[in-house]
Structures are given as structure tokens and as C-alpha cells.
């Protein structure tokens, strides 16, 4: 299971942080920030040309691993447990970045900052509830585009959800 997805820039500013682990999610905001800072301090102390893996039990509990990848000014970080494959997670980061690249054609840090909700849309299509849902970036793109189109359309037409039997029973 994937416990967290994080993006932060090389100065340690979080750009996106999403936690899937029940325990981490229930932590107060400050504790989550501590986690992000902790991850960053480990990452920033890593030399060049070493592996992309870390064992990070100290922050995320036993059997936690971390895979990161460094692109330009951004760190992409995945935290997960023993039921995932490290190399595959590395490729998952690749999928995410490729998709973002297609989304914003040549993605950069600013795209991520200013298209926050879109970032999450992309991520939600790839990782769902802590599990890998989709790894085909074309499919993800299709879904995201459909959402954008529909969102644009719904700005003019408001959707009226059908009233359904659940309401009737209530009275």
C-alpha cells in the first residue's frame, strides 16, 4: 500500500502532499508537516548517484520504504510498505511525471503550484486509496481531459441530480 505521495522543491517547500495511511491521516497538520520536513532533511542529505530508495521506519512506522526521484527543482516522493515493489514504485513516479508532462507540456514547478486541483486529479487517477489504479498515462490523460471538459461544460449548465428513492424513504 502506498502511504504517501509528496512533492517538494529543492528548498523543502511542499508542493503537494497526500497521505493515504490511516494513521498518518489522523495526525494533526503540524505532525504531517514534521513528516514532510523529516523526509526533506533525509533527501537533501543524500549524495548524488546513490540509490533512489530509503528505509524510513523512523518517520512512517515499521516496514516503510521511500522512493524518490529528483527532477530539476522538484523531489517526487512515494512512501509505501512492503507490499509494493521498489523498482515498480520508481516507475510509478515516472508515470506520474510523464503524465504531468503531457498535461502541461513540459511540466515545471510553477505548473504544479498553480494547477493544484488538476495535480490532484491526475494523482487521483493514478493512485486511489493507496493502491495503484492506473499506470497508462494515456488513459489518465483521457480521464483528466474528460473531467476538464465536463467541468467547463457544467459551468454553464448546472447538473440537477435525480431525486432518488433514498429520499422518499426518509419521510
Amino acid at each position: 500500500m502506498i502511504k504517501a505521495v509528496m512533492m517538494m522543491n529543492t528548498q523543502g517547500k511542499p508542493r503537494l502532499a497526500k497521505f493515504y495511511d490511516f494513521l498518518v491521516r489522523c495526525l494533526p497538520v503540524e505532525k504531517q508537516q514534521e513528516l514532510i520536513r523529516g523526509v526533506f532533511s533525509v533527501l537533501s542529505s543524500r549524495p548524488e548517484n546513490v540509490s533512489n530508495f530509503l528505509e524510513i521506519d523512523s518517520l512512517f512506522g515499521p516496514d516503510s520504504r521511500l522512493v524518490y526521484k529528483h527532477y530539476a527543482t522538484l523531489y517526487f516522493v512515494l512512501v509505501f510498505d512492503g507490499s509494493e515493489n521498489e523498482l515498480a514504485m520508481l516507475d510509478l513516479i515516472q508515470v506520474l511525471v510523464e503524465t504531468l508532462d503531457k498535461c502541461f507540456s513540459n511540466v515545471c514547478e510553477l505548473d504544479i503550484v498553480f494547477n493544484y486541483s488538476k495535480m490532484h486529479t491526475v494523482l487521483d487517477e493514478i493512485v486511489f486509496g493507496g493502491q495503484v489504479l492506473e499506470t497508462r498515462s494515456d488513459e489518465v490523460m483521457k480521464a483528466v481531459e474528460e473531467i476538464s471538459k465536463s467541468e467547463a461544460a457544467s459551468n454553464s449548465i448546472s447538473l440537477v441530480p435525480k431525486s432518488v428513492s433514498g429520499w422518499r424513504g426518509g419521510r
Binding site: 540509490s51 523512523s58 523498482l87 498553480f114 441530480p161 426518509g170
Partner: protein
């Protein structure tokens, strides 16, 4: 896309407007980006919070503006500041019909709230509505929110809809519904335990993506219980085979590998299934061999699959050929230049070494290289490998390496781990006692505060007991070497507290034992310890006790004791200590010094730390005193257990409470108000009863009913573990209680909650009975939360209405529920979990299918339980015949005008009709079902 892109760029350049982002947001991001220090950033964010707080208070905020505020809130919360003042606006936004706003609302809510947040309850309703939306994007958004927001208590409120969505026409929805169900399973396995068969079913989905998604929950399920999935081995193998043979659509390829993530998940599952299972291992060995041949080791993902194969082989019982292939793959990994692959190689080696221990030898050099590598991750992985391959022949080298590394690192967490590993290895493989004590000293010296206190106690015991051989000479040598090494280390500054405790203890017990060191020398050292670490009370306590032992041994052996001046001053200081423990020890020491040799010897015998001390647990020596006290009029002692028993017999309610977690929320309708007691029947007439009772004949004398209640509550207890249907335990137990043989539900009580409430006239029960009447809002909420199961609600009404005894209800027209009455043995079947396929023969099962709104998917729903709780009393009451006739009447009277169910309103009559109708539907659903499903499935 392009458009979005340009907008992003424009914003970056500082132009205004765009997709909801304003100049202010841009400025915020920019100024935070330029902030030089954390303090400056905080200042900016705090002022932003002020602005947002003000703005959110303004009336009539345009929705577009509101969306932007919420994005800003999300942003500041991501930076670690509290944005809770705006949560409610995000919650409100999820109610919006506009997809963009709704999704923004959901996004914000999922980021803001965790499962236990109070506001979740406000979203559940919206989620329920959205799950039934025609727009599959809305459904997806709701499913996404479910995964992140639904908690154990709200699962039952959305579960039926999620189960329906498993058959949605869009594969994206099916996939997410499976994931949501999986999430429920992780959150609260009992709530979906009856739906597990759905996962198996979805494995055969036409869409490979859905099948792939199903592997996630199956992996978890198989991890929990391997044996019940053994039958799937060949299915998984054939899926894997098809995937590797590129039978999946081309779009699933990733870097020229066919569906690698599905392959990896399958390999993980196969590893679980093949573990220790020869036949399963044989089935999968073929495909594993193929994989080794086919995998492209030039890509990252190809190596990921290779690694997964190695992992799988290390779990199953492999053929020698496979083992060889795995070893080859590992050596390729280790020889690679990539640190990632080396890491995987070391990891694989560590796994394989368990089944073929000699495999490591050919990679010795590679392993040593990894040990010297600057990459910390790799180093640690290698230490893990070394730890796994330690034998008594190599323990010295490995532990030495480990301790050196331990000393060199600062990471306390890992230091702890490696220290405990050193200790473990040393304890297990130590070649000599001296070496062992040396290693322990090293570990304690450098990581003393990090190791478990048990390790220290183990060490002390080990020194005291020796190494088990009956060789006193060796033992005393061991002790002497411990004492010597400790005396040497003691002069080092700043030793960890735990280590000092060990040192003090050893010196106290054995410092003077050999006669090599004089008592005054040792006691001087101990005083130094107490002096140097005067802030550490535990160490001081150990030191004083050690002193006491030294002096005791001296006195016992008849030598003259002269207390050192520094020792004297230490005692005096401690006599006035704030710590009562230290005071006590000091007083004891003082007292001991005044005693004669014989007394001292019996108090502190020499080298007796391992002797058992007999404790009189019954305190029998006090018997005389107690007898005396009782004779002079004292109350006899009642044990705690007896006391609680007494409480229980007086209070049925408390018993009931044990089963119902007090925090549990109720999402089902509150039960009808019931007479709080039979003796106060008059008052029941005052309570408005909007629904007719169906069991006027169920009125029974109080004695019988209370007996039956007792029975049912007992049976409820017994059945607790049998089956968990829907979320809330109390509800489960009610269904299980009522699905017991009829004699349990004898008489009036068909609902245990109610039964208990009316048997004991506690204030709370009357409160309960009033509350639902007072608060229709809640009722409505609860009802709407329960979604499409309007029938279950009216069922509940009827069931609780049913056992309202006596006059208040008896006067109503006896409009009967058309319950298809069945003989009790048949009814018992409904307790069984999940009917996977619906047959036309069993009306109840048809009803099940109906409730799930998809005829193929029949998880047994709570309706069954409720329905049953209705049926049970009917079958047992004396007037079954009359009931039967009435039943058939009413079912004739309402021939399938299903539409009437669509009308709203709290009309009890209508509710009853609806109820009747649905039951009718249960009998012959095929003609009517489509209308219902159209609504639900869109």
C-alpha cells in the same frame, strides 16, 4: 490542455485572472516563494489567514470567488497552518451541482478532514446522492471522497451504493468501486466480510483494468487467509501467462512490457499462495521460468518484474532450475552499476539465502563492496543481509562491523535497531564470554539509552547465572572480567544511564567477590558514580543499593566496615532527598550498617540474586488481623469481580452497553418510541403512534416477556462472533439474535435494544424513547443516509412498532404486514452470508437481490435481518393462522403498484404499503425490478 497550459504560464508571469486564480493567489504564492526564512513565510501566511477569515464572513460570496478562497485555504494548510475555520465552506461546496465546484469541494474536504472529523457526517448525505448520479464523473468524485473520508461508522451508509457500482457500465467506476470496497475492508474488515465474494467475481471482469484493480483487495485477503484461495492458483497463473504472452490490449504495455504492474501484483499473490505448498509451486514454476527468460533486464520495469520473480521464488518451494535462474538474476543485479539494482540484488540475496545458504559465497566480494559503499541505504540493506547470514563462525567479524557502523551513525532510530541486532547476534552466537561482555559494553557505551531495558536485565541475569554450565570457576572468571572491564569504562565521561545501572549492579554484586578489589575501592567508585550523575535518580538508586550490598557482604564476612566519608555524605544527602525511593534506600543502608553479621547475612546473602523469592500472594499472615477486625465490626472485603457482578445483575442496560461501542453513530432510523415500561402503560397512549401495530396479539404478561428478553440477550451474546453483517455491532447483534431459533424471540421482543430498554426501567431508556419523536431532523438524516433502502427503514418501523405492547397500538386498524411466512428452519438460512447468485425459487433471496439493486449481486443485506426479526415473532405467536390470512389479504390488496413507493411523506400507512409492496416484489421481482434499477444506475 494547451489552453490550461497557457493560463498557467500567464499566471506565472503575473497576469491576472484565469481559471479561478486571482492576482491575490498569485501574489501569495510568489511572496511565499521569495520568503527568505520560515518566520517570514509564517508572517505572510498568517496575514493571508486573516484576509481569508474576513472574506469568508462576507455575505453572498460568488461561487467562483469561494472556489478560489478554498484553493487558498488548501494551500496554506499544505504549508502547515491551520485552516479549520474554512472547513465548513469546503463541506458546503461539495453540495454544489456544478461539477467543477463539487470536485473542488471534495478535493478540499479530502485534504482537510480525516476519517474521524466531526464534519464527515455532513458530507455523507452528499456522497450518497452523488453515488447515484447519472454523471459518472460525479460518481468517481464521490468514490474518491469515500476512500478518504468514510469511517467505520459511516460505511454502512454508503455500502449498498458502492456494491451497486461494482456493476456499473463504466470500467473506471467499477475499478474505483472495487478500490473503495477494498478500503472499507482495510478500515473495518467486519463491515464488508459478507461482500468478499464480489472481489472474486470481479476478477473475471471483461476489462483488464478492473481485473488488475481486483488484485489489490485479493492480495490483502490472501495475506490474511491463504487456504481459502488455493483454488485460484491456476486462475492467477493463467492470467499471468496471458499477460506475459501479450494477450492484453497494446495500451497496457509500459516501456514494452505488457501490463507490468499487473504482473507484479500477480507474482506477489502467487508468492503467498505457493508458500510451503508443493503442488501450487509446481503449477506456477512454468510461468516463472518463462518470465525469467522473457524479462527485459535493460529497463527498470523489467528488472522490477525480475526482482518480483526472485521474491516469489524465495517464498514458494522452487525447483532447482528456478533457483538457479533466480541466482543468475541476482548476480546480474549485483554486478550492475546502478545502486538501485545493487540494492535489489542484496535484498534478493537476503531472501534467497534462507533456502540456499551457500548462494552468498559466490557474491562475497560484491557484498563487501556494498558494505563500503557511500550509499547509506545500500549499506543498511547489506547489514541486514549480514545479519541474516550470521553463523557462529562469522559472528565476530559481522558484529564488529556492525558495532563500528553503529558508533559512526547519528540516526537514533537506526542506531537502536542495529544495537538490538548486535545484542541479539551476540547473545545467540557468542564464541566466548569475554567477547560477549566486550560487545555488550560497547553497545551499552555507545547506544546505552537506545537499547531496550530488557537487554540490560538480560545481561545482568547472564552474569549472575553464568552460562548455564556447572562450572563455577568459569562463572567467576566471567564475573571478574565484567567487573574489570566495567571499572575500566567507568572513568569515561557521560555514560548512558542504562549502562551505569548495569555497572552499579555488577559492582555491587561481584565487585568484592573475588577479593581482588577492596570494599573501600569499589564503594569509592560507586560514590563517584552517584556523585557524577547526581541528576539521574535511577542510577543513584542502583549505586546506593550496590553500596548496601558491598557493606552487607563485608559485615557478613565479619570484617570491620569503615564507611568512607564521601559515602557518609552521600547517605546524608539522600536521607533528605526529594525522591522517596532514594530516601528509603538511604535509610535502609543506614539501618543495615547498625545490624550484626547474622541479621545482615539473612537480609542480603552473598550471590543470591538468582534465588527465587517466595511471595505469599494470599497474604495469609494477615488472616488473624482481618479476623480481629471483622469481629470488631468491620465490613468484609468484596473482590472487584464480585462487586461488578452485583452491578450487572441490577442493571441490564450496562450489560447491553458492553456490546455497543458508546461512540457508535446510528445511521439507521431511530426506533419507534416504546413504552418505557409495562406498568406505566397509561403513558404509552400519550405517545403518538403514527403507525399501526401488527402484533396486537403479541401483548403478553410482563413476566413472560421479561423472561424472553433475558433469553434473547443471552443468545445475542453467544452469537456475537457468528456473523457480522452491517457495520454497527448493535445492529448486527440484533439481526443475529433475531435469526436464532424462534424460541429466542418468543413473545414481544424482536429487537434486543428495545427489549432491554423495556425490561429495565432506566432513565436512559425513556430518554431514548422520547428522542426520536422529538427530533424529526435526525430521523430524516438517518433515513436519507440509509439510501435506497427505504424498505429497510419501513421494516424497522414495523418491527419496532410491532412489539409495542398493549392498548396504544391495539386500537389501530390491524393492517397486516404481508410477510411471507416461512417455517422457522428455512428462515435460519438467512443468517448465512452472501448469496452469490439469485435463484428464482427463494423469495427472500430475490429480495436480497432487489435491495442490492442488481440482481446478480446479492450480498445479504440488513434487510434480511430486519425482515427476519419481523418474521420470527409471527411464526411463534399463537395466532399464526389469522396472521397468515391477513397477510394474503393485504398482498392481494396491493397488486404491484410499485410507483406508489415514489411518493414522499411520513405517512405511516404509505410506509406500510411500501413495505408490503417490496415484500411483494420480493416474491416476483422480475417484472418490477427494472424501474428500480433505472433510477439507481442511471
Amino acid at each position: 490542455m494547451e489552453q490550461l497550459k497557457t493560463i498557467g504560464r500567464e499566471l506565472a508571469m503575473g497576469s491576472q485572472g484565469g481559471f479561478g486564480q486571482s492576482k491575490e493567489f498569485l501574489d501569495l504564492v510568489k511572496s511565499i516563494g521569495e520568503a527568505r526564512s520560515k518566520a517570514e513565510e509564517d508572517r505572510i501566511v498568517l496575514s493571508e489567514i486573516d484576509i481569508l477569515k474576513r472574506k469568508l464572513l462576507e455575505p453572498d460570496i460568488p461561487k467562483r470567488k469561494m472556489k478560489e478562497y478554498i484553493i487558498r485555504l488548501v494551500y496554506i494548510e499544505m504549508l502547515g497552518h491551520d485552516a479549520s475555520f474554512g472547513y465548513i465552506h469546503a463541506v458546503k461546496m461539495t453540495h454544489d451541482d456544478n461539477l467543477l465546484l463539487k470536485r473542488t469541494g471534495y478535493l478540499a474536504v479530502t485534504l482537510f478532514l480525516n476519517e474521524d472529523h466531526d464534519l464527515i457526517i455532513l458530507i455523507v448525505n452528499t456522497i450518497q446522492k452523488d453515488l447515484r448520479s447519472d454523471n459518472y464523473l460525479v460518481v468517481c468524485a464521490a468514490l474518491n471522497a469515500i476512500c478518504r473520508l468514510i469511517n467505520e461508522e459511516t460505511i454502512p451508509a454508503v455500502l449498498p451504493q458502492v456494491v451497486d457500482l461494482l456493476n456499473h457500465q463504466k470500467e473506471a467506476v467499477r475499478k474505483k468501486a472495487i478500490m473503495a470496497l477494498h478500503r472499507f475492508h482495510r478500515k473495518s474488515p467486519s463491515s464488508v466480510s459478507h461482500l468478499i465474494s464480489n472481489f472474486r467475481k470481479r476478477l473475471c471482469d471483461n476489462d483488464p483494468g478492473v481485473m488488475g484493480a481486483t488484485l489489490c483487495p485479493l492480495f490483502d485477503l490472501i495475506t490474511e487467509d491463504v487456504s481459502s484461495y488455493k483454488d485460484l492458483v491456476s486462475s492467477f497463473v493463467s492470467i499471468l501467462k496471458q499477460v506475459t504472452e501479450r494477450r492484453l490490449p497494446k495500451s497496457y504495455d509500459y516501456h514494452q512490457m505488457p501490463a507490468p504492474f499487473i504482473q507484479i501484483k500477480l507474482l506477489k499473490i502467487l508468492a503467498l499462495l505457493g508458500c510451503g505448498d508443493k503442488s501450487a509451486s509446481e503449477i506456477m514454476s512454468m510461468v516463472l521460468g518463462d518470465l525469467f527468460r522473457k524479462c527485459d533486464s535493460s529497463t527498470n520495469i523489467g528488472n522490477a518484474i525480475l526482482y518480483e520473480c526472485i521474491r516469489c521464488i524465495s517464498c514458494i518451494i522452487p525447483s532447482p532450475k528456478l533457483l538457479e535462474a533466480a541466482a543468475d538474476a541476482i548476480s546480474k543485479f549485483l554486478k550492475s552499476d546502478s545502486h538501485n539494482l545493487k540494492y535489489m540484488g542484496i535484498d534478493g540475496l537476503g531472501r534467497l539465502i534462507k533456502i540456499s545458504p551457500d548462494i552468498a559465497e559466490q557474491h562475497q566480494l560484491a557484498v563487501i563492496d556494498c558494505l563500503e559503499d557511500p550509499d547509506d541505504t545500500l549499506k543498511r540493506k547489506t547489514f541486514e543481509l549480514l545479519y541474516k547470514m550470521t553463523k557462529s563462525s562469522n559472528v565476530e567479524v559481522i558484529v564488529d562491523r556492525m558495532t563500528d557502523y553503529m558508533i559512526s551513525i547519528n540516526d537514533n532510530h537506526y542506531k537502536t535497531e542495529i544495537a538490538s541486532r548486535c545484542v541479539e547476534l551476540a547473545e545467540q552466537f557468542a564464541p566466548s564470554n569475554q567477547w560477549f561482555i566486550q560487545i555488550m559494553n560497547k553497545v551499552f557505551e555507545h547506544a546505552g539509552d537506545l537499547v531496550n531495558i530488557k537487554v540490560a536485565h538480560n545481561l545482568m541475569r547472564l552474569i549472575a547465572e553464568g552460562f548455564g554450565e556447572d562450572d563455577d570457576d568459569a562463572d567467576s572468571k566471567l564475573r571478574l572480567s565484567a567487573v574489570e572491564s566495567h571499572l575500566q569504562i567507568m572513568s569515561e565521561p557521560k555514560l548512558p544511564s542504562l549502562f551505569l545501572q548495569v555497572i552499579s549492579w555488577v559492582l555491587g554484586e561481584y565487585g568484592t567477590a573475588d577479593g581482588k578489589y577492596s570494599a573501600s575501592y569499589i564503594s569509592g567508585k560507586l560514590c563517584d558514580v552517584a556523585d557524577a550523575y547526581s541528576s539521574d535518580e535511577t542510577v543513584k538508586g542502583y549505586a546506593v543499593s550496590a553500596l548496601m550490598k558491598i557493606y552487607a557482604f563485608e559485615i557478613a564476612s565479619g570484617r570491620k566496615v569503615d564507611v568512607l566519608p564521601e559515602c557518609q555524605s552521600l547517605i546524608e544527602e539522600l536521607l533528605a532527598s526529594h525522591s522517596t525511593d532514594l530516601q528509603q534506600r538511604a535509610y535502609e543502608l543506614q539501618a543495615l550498617l547498625a545490624l550484626d553479621a547474622r541479621a545482615v547475612e539473612s537480609i542480603l546473602p552473598l550471590d543470591a540474586s538468582c534465588e527465587d523469592i517466595e511471595v505469599d500472594k494470599d497474604l495469609s499472615f494477615l488472616n488473624g488481623y482481618i479476623q480481629q477486625a471483622i469481629e470488631s465490626g468491620a465490613q468484609p472485603y468484596i473482590s472487584e469481580r464480585e462487586r461488578s457482578c452485583m452491578l450487572e445483575t441490577t442493571d441490564y442496560h450496562s450489560q447491553d452497553h458492553h456490546e455497543v461501542p458508546s461512540h457508535a453513530l446510528r445511521f439507521e432510523a431511530y426506533e419507534r418510541p416504546k413504552p418505557s415500561s409495562l406498568p406505566t402503560q397509561a403513558s404509552t397512549e400519550l405517545v403518538p403512534v403514527p403507525e399501526p401495530s401488527y402484533y396486537s396479539e403479541a401483548h403478553q404478561p410482563i413476566s413472560t416477556s421479561s423472561v424472553s428478553e433475558r433469553e434473547s440477550s443471552e443468545i445475542k451474546l453467544r452469537l456475537d462472533g457468528v456473523k457480522q453483517k452491517w457495520g454497527r455491532p448493535s445492529y448486527q447483534s440484533s439481526t443475529s439474535a433475531s435469526s436464532t431459533p424462534p424460541q429466542a424471540a418468543n413473545g414481544t421482543s424482536s429487537h434486543p435494544d428495545v427489549g432491554v430498554g423495556s425490561s429495565s426501567l432506566k432513565p436512559r431508556s425513556s430518554y431514548e424513547s422520547k428522542k426520536p419523536e422529538i427530533d424529526p431532523e435526525k430521523q430524516r438524516l438517518a433515513a436519507s443516509l440509509f439510501g435506497g433502502s427505504s424498505t429497510s427503514r419501513s421494516d424497522r418501523k414495523s418491527s419496532s412498532g410491532g412489539h409495542k405492547p398493549a392498548k396504544g397500538t391495539a386500537s389501530k386498524p390491524p393492517k397486516e404486514n404481508p410477510i411471507p411466512v416461512q417455517p422457522p428452519p428455512d428462515l435460519l438460512d438467512f443468517g448465512e452470508p452472501t448469496a452469490t447468485s439469485v435463484t428464482a425459487t427463494d423469495p427472500f433471496k430475490e429480495l436480497e437481490g432487489l435491495m442490492d439493486s442488481s440482481s446478480q449481486d446479492g450480498g445479504s443485506t440488513d434487510v434480511m435481518g430486519v425482515l427476519y426479526s419481523d418474521a420470527a415473532p409471527v411464526t411463534t405467536t399463537t395466532s399464526v393462522d389469522s396472521l397468515l390470512s391477513e397477510l394474503s389479504d393485504s398482498s392481494k390488496g396491493n397488486p404491484g403498484t410499485y410507483q406508489s413507493q415514489t411518493s414522499k411523506g411520513p405517512n405511516s400507512k404509505e410506509a406500510l404499503e411500501k413495505d408490503a409492496l417490496v415484500r411483494q416484489m420480493g416474491v416476483n421481482p422480475t417484472s418490477q425490478n427494472p424501474t428500480l434499477f433505472k433510477d439507481l444506475l442511471g
